[in-house]
Amino acid sequence: MSSRWLSLAICAACAIAPASATAAEHSSLNASFSPDKLAKATTVGIGFQLKSGATPLTRLQLRLPTGVTAGFNTLGLETCTLAGLEARGSSACPSNALVGLGHAVVAVPLGSQQLLEPVSIKMFMAPAANEHTVFLFYADGSAPVIDRLVFQSVLFGESGIFGGRLDTAIPPVAGLPGSPDASVISMQAEIGPKSLRYHTHSHGRTVTFTPEGFDVPARCPRGGFPFSGTFTFADGSEETATTRVSCPRTP
């Protein structure tokens, strides 16, 4: 699904919600593999829904199962810089830097109204920092208001049942002066080869190919592959949500 179609699809669900709109009492996390096969490259789908009334999310630490973080050698063949993305938008990034797509719903307080703005998300590979993999997120909304947000995420190694931690600092998104900042209330993204097409030149021709994605480990832990998300909010509170991807059926 292209980002445009994704936006349109989400837009159908977007609404102008009152500030007191009801939602879940706890934040939730979901994850998926596509395809869902052991020892195969896959696209990791991951999303969250924040609890009701939460203050803006300022940090998201997403922990991935052990083994999942290895094996995406051709994902993100090229990189994109934060400065370029901020200055020129996604057009500043080469298509071979794109590593994932997604969408989110951002709550934008507008006086007595609160807009639920659907935004599309593109994730790009950025130059590594201190040997850590860095992803850039480009969030773009066009209705009811036009907004845009760029932030980065760094992949750190983990031990135990989690093999890596994707640590994302979400900068505040100012709304109207005197109103609370805009806040992400939900997000759904897919990182991996699904929907991605890379290009390369070979013998003077442009060749399109699908990059490799994450590797699904060959063995599935008991209970499935664990995912954990720790949400840090603007008021300093934290909440952790977990989920598991069920073990794929053995073919």
Binding site: C11, C14, A15, I16, A19, G89, V108, P109, L110, G111, S112, Q113, L115, G141, S142, A143, P144, V145, I146, D147, R148, V173, A174, G175, L176, P177, G178, S179, P180, A182
Partner: protein, 958 residues
């Protein structure tokens, strides 16, 4: 007694021959006139009662005959020389003719020199030989053989001789008592010097002849001497010998007026009319004359005018000793000031009485005459403006002639003086103002043939209005009472104080002798003339009315605002009126009066927008004065002002021009007008206005436009009182027929084809055109953005923060997202200004606020942004002011801080701009305007090549 008797007998004998003698022609050619005139006093003591003598003699020819027969002789006595005839017995004319006047009526002596035998100068017709007793003359007329002194002179030079006549033998011959000593030739003169013995005659106080204050008479049997005494308008007495008989041949006279006729010193001459039974025994001692009470060292001047029967006249003056000893004089006057009504703040008549008890001791000194009378009325008692209704002024000439118009009469006056039996009465008139004296009082009183003109003035304190009535240089005439009765009623000259309490008048009285006194008089002002108490706090509840002449919505109509207060209430100081929404003045139609003309009240007619009328004065008939109201430029911090110019002409008084400024302020959100006055004048020309009513009518044709909304409204005002509270007042105001007003606005829009979500975003121009003042004004406008356009969060983030009241100075530059221009028939120039994006915190949607300026007026039009569930973004201006506009142009340009963005270029797209416009009368105009896209190449714009217009037929419904 003997001397008097002898003289009387002589005079009686002489009268027997006078008839023949006096008819003879005169001899010499000397002119009729006064040969001598003298006046004397027995004492110069001021206020004393001396014996006064006035003597005069007439010119005679060479033989002692009067040139012509005296008819009238008038002595004008010096100011302050008086005679109290009324205290003496007045002898009836018939009694006088019978020579039976009693000594009690004698007030002096008239001593005249009468011709017993005329002087003659006749030539001899024939030679008279020495030793002869016979003389032959051309005629013997005038030869008085029987006269006591019948000597004649014959001849001239060394042979001239004197002889006495024995007989008149014939018309041409006379016989001498002794023979001639010399021979005298024909032609030599025979002369006889006229005989004029002085005859003292009792001067009796007679019943006054009609028109005279006193008549004195002296009788010479067949011919009487009458002296008429009069008083001139300036108070000076005159004594006139009237129509002296030609039988008398009066050659000189002396008038002796006694100070105290009963004084024993006059015994020898105090006789009955036969000259016998002289003496003063039994007569009461009463003073007759009074010497002036002014001691300025100047001799007293008497003036004598004589007139012959042939019409010749002559004049002479004489002085007598200046009065002295004024420091011995005394007076103890009192003052009474009583209003006809004691009710506060009401016109009232006033009775003012200055009482000066007169000293009556015959040998005492008279009470000095008052020279300066000044009565300060109580503070708060003021001239009543209502007086001016129909008032005229009396000119100097009219006053002098006694022909002051009735319309100038404001009261009556009365003066009681010991000189006259009855008080002088008359009227008080308003005198014509002069450059130095604005308020003048003319008192003209008369009686017994006397008329006095007293010219006074009223000094009105310019700050307090307190009145002081001043009569300077009053006649040197003693009076016991000087009463002024000023009329009451609605047109009374005076109005009572506006507060209850004791009201005290004070007089400053100064006599000619230098004495002064300050008597006072008090009365109590009450609530109702019945002694009722006034409320502790003076009320202030003025009546307030306001409205348009026509109730038709959207129509031009004069608008009138009236404030009126009742008597007894506090005075109005200022008003601040808020006009109803939608009531506007087409300021564009008048040329504002500029400074300094506005401050001076000298504005051109082109600036006139109305008329103001003030009602001033207590009572049921205030004085109403009107003047123009002009529109001015900025005043007192307000963009416009009014100046009311009232030429205060109250009857004959032009008190000058009153200029009152007012500020016209415009509510920046509602465009509602307020008119706030400067403090209103409370006193003009020393007259407290006691402002009863103020009416301002804005009646310039096609100037005031009624609202086009028919909601029940009101005109409200804050009315402040002098040194008191303010009150809020309200008058209902509404118009009808709003739904019938036309409302057909046209909206058009355009946008640049180049657009983006980032960078310079997108732009949009919107224009609304209306029929202006001939159509209903717009109440609300809701405009929805084309679906391809959305606001940009990056601009929203820079909206003007909540709480900023002055957007221009308090908002960041990034919050300016556009500009607007509004053309209105109300203002000369369009309103222009920036469009701000304004945040209101969590309580309201953000706004697009047009901050417009023009002609000093600041207007803010607030349109809330809203986003529908569909995501459509609208701007709603829901509370547009009820003011006519001709056009409104809103420009939201592209740029770094453009409020709008689009996903990409708009060329080739079809953009619709839905809008809904509602009139003040609830008529709706709803449509979708096609947005014209500019800046596209022909290829780009192909799909939008059709012109901008309305995608659907505009629907107007109510």
């Amino acid at each position: 007694m003997h001397e008097m008797t002898t003289r009387l007998r002589a005079s009686l004998a002489a009268i027997l021959v006078m008839g023949a003698l006096l008819a003879l022609p005169g001899i010499a050619s000397a002119q009729f006139g006064i040969s001598s005139f003298s006046t004397t006093t027995s004492s110069p003591q001021a206020g004393g009662h001396p014996d006064l003598t006035a003597s005069f003699a007439l010119n005679t020819d060479s033989v002692g005959n009067p040139i012509e027969q005296l008819k009238n002789a008038t002595v004008v006595l010096p100011p302050g020389v008086l005679g109290d005839a009324q205290s003496f017995e007045r002898c009836a004319t018939r009694t006088f003719d019978q020579l039976k006047c009693r000594p009690a009526s004698q007030i002096g002596v008239f001593e005249g020199s009468f011709i017993i035998c005329r002087g003659v100068d006749i030539p001899l017709e024939a030679t008279a030989e020495a030793g002869s007793k016979i003389l032959t003359l051309s005629n013997t007329a005038g030869m008085c053989a029987a006269a006591p002194d019948n000597a004649i002179t014959i001849g001239t030079g060394a042979t001239a001789e004197t002889a006495r006549l024995a007989y008149v033998l014939s018309p041409t011959t006379v016989e001498l008592q002794q023979p001639l000593e010399f021979t005298h030739a024909a032609g030599e003169p025979v002369t006889h010097i006229a005989e004029t013995p002085r005859v003292p005659l009792p001067l009796m106080n007679l019943q006054p002849s009609p028109g005279h204050i006193a008549t004195f008479g002296a009788s010479l049997l067949l011919a009487n001497i009458f002296i008429q005494v009069d008083m001139r308008p300036d108070g000076r007495l005159t004594a006139t010998i009237t129509e002296a008989s030609t039988l008398l041949g009066l050659q000189s006279a002396a008038l002796n007026l006694w100070g105290v006729p009963a004084d024993p010193s006059h015994d020898a001459l105090h006789c009955n009319m036969w000259g016998i039974e002289c003496g003063t025994d039994g007569l009461p001692a009463t003073s007759f004359t009074t010497y002036p009470t002014k001691c300025d060292g100047a001799p007293l001047e008497n003036e004598l005018t004589v007139e012959s029967w042939r019409g010749a006249s002559s004049r002479s003056t004489s002085t007598e000793a200046a009065p002295t000893g004024c420091n011995s004089l005394q007076m103890s006057p009192s003052l009474s000031v009583v209003p006809g009504s004691t009710q506060e703040d009401s016109p009232a008549g006033y009775n003012v009485d200055v009482n000066v008890p007169q000293q009556a001791e015959p040998y005492g000194l008279a009470t000095p005459a008052l020279e300066h009378v000044s009565v300060a009325l109580p503070p708060g008692t003021s001239l009543s403006p209502g007086l001016a209704n129909g008032l005229q002024a009396c000119s100097e000439d009219q006053f002098a002639e006694g022909s002051c118009p009735d319309a100038s009469k404001v009261g009556t006056a009365e003066i009681a003086t010991p000189v006259l039996a009855q008080p002088l009465t008359g009227g008080i008139y308003i005198g014509a103002p002069t450059a130095s004296e604005k308020y003048r009082l003319f008192a003209r009183v008369s009686g017994d043939g006397v008329t006095l003109n007293l010219a006074g003035r009223v000094e009105a304190n310019e700050q307090t209005g307190q009145l002081t009535a001043v009569f300077d240089h009053a006649p040197q005439l003693p009076f016991s009472d000087f009463r002024l009765n000023l009329f009451g009623g609605p047109g009374a000259a005076l109005a009572n104080p506006q507060s209850c309490g004791v009201a005290t008048s004070t007089a400053e009285l100064t006599s000619y002798g230098g004495q002064s006194a300050s008597p006072s008089s008090s009365f109590t002002v009450d609530a109702n003339d019945q002694g009722g108490a006034c409320p502790a706090s003076k009320p202030f509840a003025p009546n307030f009315t306001a409205g348009s002449s026509s109730p038709a919505a959207g129509a031009f109509s004069p608008f009138t605002l009236t404030i009126a207060r009742a008597d007894g209430e506090r005075n109005l100081e200022t008003f601040d009126a808020q006009l109803p929404a939608g009531l506007v003045g087409l300021l564009k139609s008048a040329a504002p009066c500029l400074e300094p003309q506005a401050a001076q009240g000298s504005c051109p007619a082109s600036a006139r927008v109305g008329t103001a009328t003030i009602g001033a004065g207590a009572g049921s008939q205030p004085l109403y004065i009107s003047g123009p109201v002009y529109l001015t430029g900025p005043y007192g911090g307000a963009p416009f002002g009014l100046v009311t110019v009232i030429n205060v002409v109250a009857g004959p008084f032009n008190l000058g021009t009153v200029v009152v400024r007012s500020r016209i302020t415009v509510n920046p959100r509602t465009l509602d007008l307020s008119i706030a006055s400067d403090p209103l004048p409370q006193i003009v020309g020393g007259i407290p206005l006691r402002l009863r009513a103020l009416s301002v009518s804005l009646d310039r044709p096609r100037f005031i436009l009624n609202p086009s909304n028919c909601a029940a409204q009101s005109v409200t005002a804050t009315l402040s009182s002098i040194q008191g509270p303010s009150v809020d007042a309200s008058a209902p105001f509404d118009v009808v027929g709003c739904s019938s007003l036309p409302f057909a606005p046209k909206l058009s829009a355009s946008t640049p084809g180049r657009a983006s979500s980032q960078g310079n975003g997108a732009g949009l121009d919107i224009a609304i055109a209306t029929a202006g003042a001939t159509a209903a004004a717009m109440k609300s406008a809701t405009i929805t953005l084309p679906s391809a356009m959305h606001p940009r969060l990056s601009t929203i983030q820079h909206a003007c923060p909540p709480g900023v009241t002055d957007l221009q100075s308090g908002c960041p530059a990034e919050s300016v997202v556009g500009s607007a221009v509004v053309s209105t028939p109300v203002l000369p120039a369009p309103l222009t200004g920036a469009v701000y994006l304004v945040a209101h915190g969590g309580t309201r949607l953000p706004s697009l606020v047009m901050v417009l300026h023009g002609d000093g007026i600041n207007v803010e039009l607030d349109g809330s942004l809203s986003i529908a569930h569909s995501g459509a973004v609208s701007a709603s201006f829901l509370t547009l002011p009820d003011a006519p506009i001709e056009s409104l142009k809103l420009n939201l340009p592209r740029g770094r801080h453009s409020i709008l963005g689009a996903a990409g270029d708009l060329c080739g797209k079809s953009l619709g701009l839905p809008y809904s416009l509602t009139s003040q009368g609830a008529t709706k105009a709803k449509a979708t305007a096609r947005v014209a896209i500019s800046g596209c190449t022909s290829a780009e714009g192909k799909s939008s090549a059709h012109k901008a217009g309305h995608s659907s037929k505009k629907r107007a419904r109510r």
